[in-house]
Amino acid sequence: MRKSLTKIFTVIITISFTLLTYAQKEKKEIKDESIDYCVSCHTENDILPNDYSNYDVHRISGLSCSGCHGGDKNSNDQDIAMSPAKGFVGVPNKKDIPQFCGKCHSNINIMRTYQPRIATDQVEQYYTSMHGKRLKAGDKNVAECTSCHTAHSILPASDPRSTTYALNVPNTCNKCHGNKELMDKYNLPSNQMSEYVKSVHGIDLLEKKDTGAPACNDCHGNHGAMPPGVTSISYVCGTCHVNNMNYFNASPMAEPFKELDYHGCEQCHGNHGIKKTSDDMVGVGKNSTCIDCHNEGDNGYIVAKTISSYLSSLNSKYSLAEKKLIEVRDKGMNDIEIGYLLQDAKQNLIESRTLVHTFDTVKVGSTIIKGIDITTKAISLADAQIDEYYTRRNGFAFATAVFLILAVGLFFKIKSLRK
């Protein structure tokens, strides 16, 4: 009897334990669809990626970790959530990252769901770049998608927090290109950033926050980043400085530059450290770039000297007119028309500086003459206003003196009448 009771008790305990275990397992498998188990488990275990952020564009668009890494975000069972059967691929090899991102970014059907206007040739472009070519060849030091965009804090380039926002691009590129040790391996300089920050473009972009100024990618491209070639460099600069490019390419200098393997614009202006141009760059002075190739007596030397004298004649006349304009303004006289004329003269000055790239003294000269005519007109208008000011002032002084004498005279007359 006692044995039977023990048996019954054992069976009951076993059944209860089995049922309890089953119930617990069942309970465990009740899934809450709203929970992203990738994030919750990795947060709980403090193993989220270092650069993970909640404002990542993919996360905001509703893609979970599994959107890129595969697996099942709705399962809280690690074996299921991270099983190859559920498509889990884990952390990709550096070499595979472009294809990894390209799964979606090269697929127009997927991309148009999120960004109908986004390009889908980034991966294709990437493999045309030096970064892409080297990565394909097995170089693990080169930049791939995450090097510039980050892996888990990706934001659109229009977002000021993004590593690819115009103001942040130089620093993003400089993470690698400023690393001397790394760049030495490729025989590349690592001082581009230090030169760029002092350049006219760098000052405009980084100090004046002018996002229209070019960052690295505006000249080198982004996904297809390459150093511009000898012939393409003038086209690169010409995207903004279009007239300079057209004039230069049509000038008699274009052909010799090609023959001598000179780097178009870069030959005179430099590249990363381009300084604001000055009229001293033209001519035969010590700051001139013309004398790098031309010697006294040759035709180029004479052209440089002539163009330089043209520029300085308009420049000095324009400076004089500007001083007169300020004087007219300070005297409270009408400066509107003078201001308009000077605006026209400034256009002529800019135009003639651009026409320097034709290396044609006639073309530069005719624009300079127009500018000088306008400036002369502005100066004579200013002089007329200044003369008018002094005429009014002298007239006023004279009238005041007359009235004072009259008043004093009147006073004495009244006094004599009283007597």
């Binding site: 002018d210 996002t211 229209g212 100024a213 070019p214 010409g238 995207t239 903004c240 400085h241 279009v242 007239n243 409270g332 509107i336 201001g339 308009y340 605006q343 256009q347 800019i350 135009e351 651009t354 006023f396 005041t400 009235f403 004072l404 008043a407 009147l410 006073f411 009244i414």
Partner: protein, 143 residues
Amino acid sequence: MTLNRKKFLNILLSLSGIAGLGAIFYPIFSYLIPPKISEPKVNSVKVGSASDFPNNSYKIVKFGRKPVILIKTVEGDFKALSATCTHLECIVQYKSDTHQIWCACHNGIYDLNGRNVSGPPPRPLTPYDVKIINDEIVITSAG
């Protein structure tokens, strides 16, 4: 105390003398310490006949101190925008072949609504209103 004629004339003459001195000295003080007078603001400018303005052409108009570009589109609509490029303040022009506003200094391009569409300009051009009153084009400050 009665006010006789002589006394009355003396008071009148003294007051006139003070007023006369005031009239002499006030302009001197005003000259030495000029009053703050703001420049009159230009709110509208008449430009000329609408029917004489050819389609697909433009002209630069003086609007106070600011140049304004007035464009007559291919369709015959008038557009007026600030003519100063938002990049480095060069004067923009209308390109009749591409129907865009172009800044020759750095190849900045704006559409006909003044929106900066390519090149370095950071901001759009400021729009002005254009009204045609009895065939006369009148440009006014927008808003």
